[in-house]
Symmetry: C2
Subunit: 480 residues, 2 copies
């Protein structure tokens, strides 16, 4: 039945648009059927590649007519299988990569289509003397549509917020095939429910984002990067609070335990620890200056000296050159890879209320190690956001395949239970996708789950937009 429906939809699309926007060529479809980490595999008999919002609306209308589900996909960089089609072949891929125009860069905002690669937006903003202040490792392939639809975060959330705070307006195709033209960012508009914020983080289950109006901020003229040694995470949070009370120019504040840092130093050729002394926890701090602002280095130096005086900082060093600043960041960015090089590890993208994060980092790690003997638990991350990267490494000598299949899921449930008990979230940045849907159903507050289902069924009653991701509805009763 599904096969027939897809074939009919493809035929209609060819009749309407020619061969240009749809392919059934298995070789061309294949790269998009597996997520980038190779964990999820799906089947799609067709790949739709419209070039503008009107063509997206056309594809959505055809999908509705034939009862075929659509899986929107941008850069295919989901961490939770959010852009991989279902394995039963019941859906088709809808790529937004051809919607790749930056429609406008003006003072303080940009309008970018869904398929624009993040790095291209960075470059366009920079060319206009401005900055789009959200960045992450996948910036060379992640696209605006995906970043909007997953409410992406990154390393600069501390000052500028996640995608939710940077999206001023959205253009999207809704499940009924209409185009929601919400790009004009009216500062005051009280005509009912906030569709913009509803679509941010909806993982393509409520609308296909085709373009977004995004906030730009002043370019960075200069940055200062420091490394500091502290006794415990609470000292780090106290230091951050002091710094934030004194300035709004702190852009990053990362906390790293000494043993994980040691792994990274050992893993990276030619790397060395920024501080010679031994400190159980270390901080990477970046302050910036926009053009015309006072240079950030003296400011950061003064703030660190104040931290030393307050008994919060044991030692600190300011990067003396841009190359050294880069070296500091390279260490930070190597933590996950360094950990993985030592053997199997399971990672968790979680968050807890900011004030409780210092205690959680210490206590949850100890609890995990006690509960799962010979594992090694590490918590690091964005201290100001309550965002913990919580990694648990397998016992030395564990068989990877068996450990991933049998032990890792138990550990993950243990960590998610701890997060939930702490009033936190089992997804800080990466979303739910297909990876965490079961855990969300297990742990999500019933009121929230019911609300998610209500919204989904109200806007997408046929469950045609990214089915099986984020929230599950009862299976569709019938194919047409």
């Amino acid at each position: 039945m599904t096969t027939d429906a897809i074939a009919a939809m493809v035929a209609d699309a060819r009749a309407a648009f020619g061969d240009r926007i749809v392919t059934t060529d298995a070789d061309r479809i294949a790269p998009w059927l597996t997520d980038w980490r190779g964990r999820y595999h799906g089947i799609s008999a067709a790949l739709f590649e419209p070039a503008d919002a009107a063509e997206v609306a056309g594809v959505v209308a055809l999908a509705g007519r034939h009862g075929v589900a659509l899986v929107p996909q941008g850069g295919n960089t989901s961490m939770v299988g959010g852009a991989t089609p279902p394995a039963d072949g019941s859906a088709v891929l809808l790529s937004l990569r051809r919607l790749n125009r930056i429609r406008q860069v003006s003072d303080g905002q940009a309008v970018a289509e869904a398929g624009v690669i993040l790095q291209h937006l960075h470059e366009a903003a920079a060319a206009a003397g401005q900055r789009f202040p959200l960045t992450l490792g996948a910036r060379g392939s992640a696209t605006i549509g995906g970043l909007v639809s997953t409410n992406a975060g990154g390393t600069q959330v501390l000052r500028w917020g996640n995608m939710r705070r940077l999206v001023l307006g959205i253009e999207a195709v809704l499940p009924d095939g209409t185009v929601h033209g919400g790009l004009a960012a009216l500062p005051k508009d009280n005509r009912g429910y906030d569709l913009t914020q509803l679509l941010v983080g909806a993982e393509g289950t409520l609308g296909i984002v085709t373009a977004a109006t995004l906030r730009l901020v002043p370019a960075i003229a200069e940055r200062a990067v420091a490394w500091a040694g502290i006794a415990d995470p609470q000292a780090g949070l106290d230091l951050l609070r002091r710094m934030q009370a004194a300035t709004d120019r702190i852009e990053s504040f990362e906390i790293i335990p000494a043993d994980t840092l040691a792994l990274a130093v050992a893993h990276l050729p030619g790397a060395r620890a920024p501080l010679s002394g031994q400190y159980p926890w270390q901080l990477l701090i970046e302050a910036v200056a926009a053009p015309g602002e006072l240079p950030p280095a003296p400011l950061l130096e003064e703030l660190l000296a104040d931290g030393v005086e307050a008994g919060l900082v044991a030692d600190a060093v300011l990067a003396s050159s841009e190359a050294q600043a880069e070296a500091f960041w390279t260490l930070r960015d190597s933590l996950s890879a360094a950990e993985k090089s030592t053997g199997p590890a399971v990672q968790h993208d979680i968050s807890v209320p900011v004030d409780t994060m210092p205690r959680f980092m210490v206590e949850a790690a100890a609890a995990a190690e006690a509960r799962f003997p010979r594992t090694h638990a590490t918590a690091f991350g964005h201290l100001g956001d309550g965002n913990v990267h919580f990694h648990v490494r397998a016992p030395v000598g564990a068989d990877p395949a068996r450990w991933y299949a049998e032990d890792a899921p138990v550990i993950t449930r243990f960590v998610h239970d701890a997060v939930t008990a702490a009033g936190g979230s089992i997804s800080a940045e990466h979303g739910i996708g297909q990876m965490k849907r079961g855990e969300l159903e297990r742990l999500g507050p019933p009121a929230r789950l019911a609300a998610l289902r209500g919204i989904k069924s109200g806007l997408d009653p046929l469950n045609l937009f990214n089915p099986g991701k984020l929230v599950s509805l009862a299976p569709r009763s019938a194919n047409p």
Copy 2:
């Protein structure tokens, strides 16, 4: 049928809670059946007054069981009939006024229940050395639940945003009777749709807000208030842009046409125009300093001098005392009353894209006066928000009753057409309620209207939460 259902619901409530939370005493109910301006009148056979979220949930569960619709009400200060029950007696009033505790005031945030009066929150924040930066004329009676549910604005939106930006978390009872406990404001939480922002501005049609976590900002240690004369609104916007590029401490920036100002000066006993010269447009500008910041007066003086030099400002004066600053604001706050004292006038709460506001103010006023001879159209308001107060005064000698009944609605449709053509919103601050529902249906983009209906029907399939406000569903098919 409805009468029986309400009687059964009241009996169940008495059985469950005693007489404490429900009354059918017509004298006690009467004050809440009419909106504060006396424009909308409703009927409600019962008034429910629960004292906490659990009791609200209990009332909602009873409403669901008996199929009785609920009209939530706080301070009853809606400008659009949003809190007045329907005239057919099919709904009952749910007052949130007894949920009046401020649960917490901590550094940077407060948790206030729905029935907390805005001014009480101002006082509690001030007592803690902080400030809740949203204020408006009705602050002595408007409540937090209503302010959240209408995404209220006010005079300080320029710097701090409307309610949507100040709400960090929400506790609400959903139509299925579950309590959404979303007060803990996690900076990073990607567990699906943003229920907090969905409930902000939903006018009680999706959930009964019982408490909110709200952002607090530094207290004002000192303020500087200036009055400036300019040639046209574009000069005002250019001046604002220059000031905003130089500082983030401008809190208010109001534009007023000379003839409306003259009305206010004449209307207010003892008032005088701040500037002696004649300038077609005038500005009220306020800059502030938090404790420890440099005083705002020299800053504002310098910014105004820069504006004079740039040819944007013709003349300007800084209030020399707090009393004079108050006098400036009193003039601004008297504009509407002064206008009304001259005869019938119809007012519109609209917004347009900020960049187009200067042109819109001039052109739409001219167009309205051309289309409706002998009327007088005035546009003033919050220049930085694109929020125009667009008033049209009746011809001198017009019969008020006839003019309000026959001419005013035609004028309103004309104004709304102009706003829509300009890409603006027919509701900037006040919401839709029952007053603008027909206009929203007439002018709302079909995609938006369909989305509003989809969300509403998905979350409140029985249409029991504030029916007839904001968005209309098909009438309920049957009573139980």
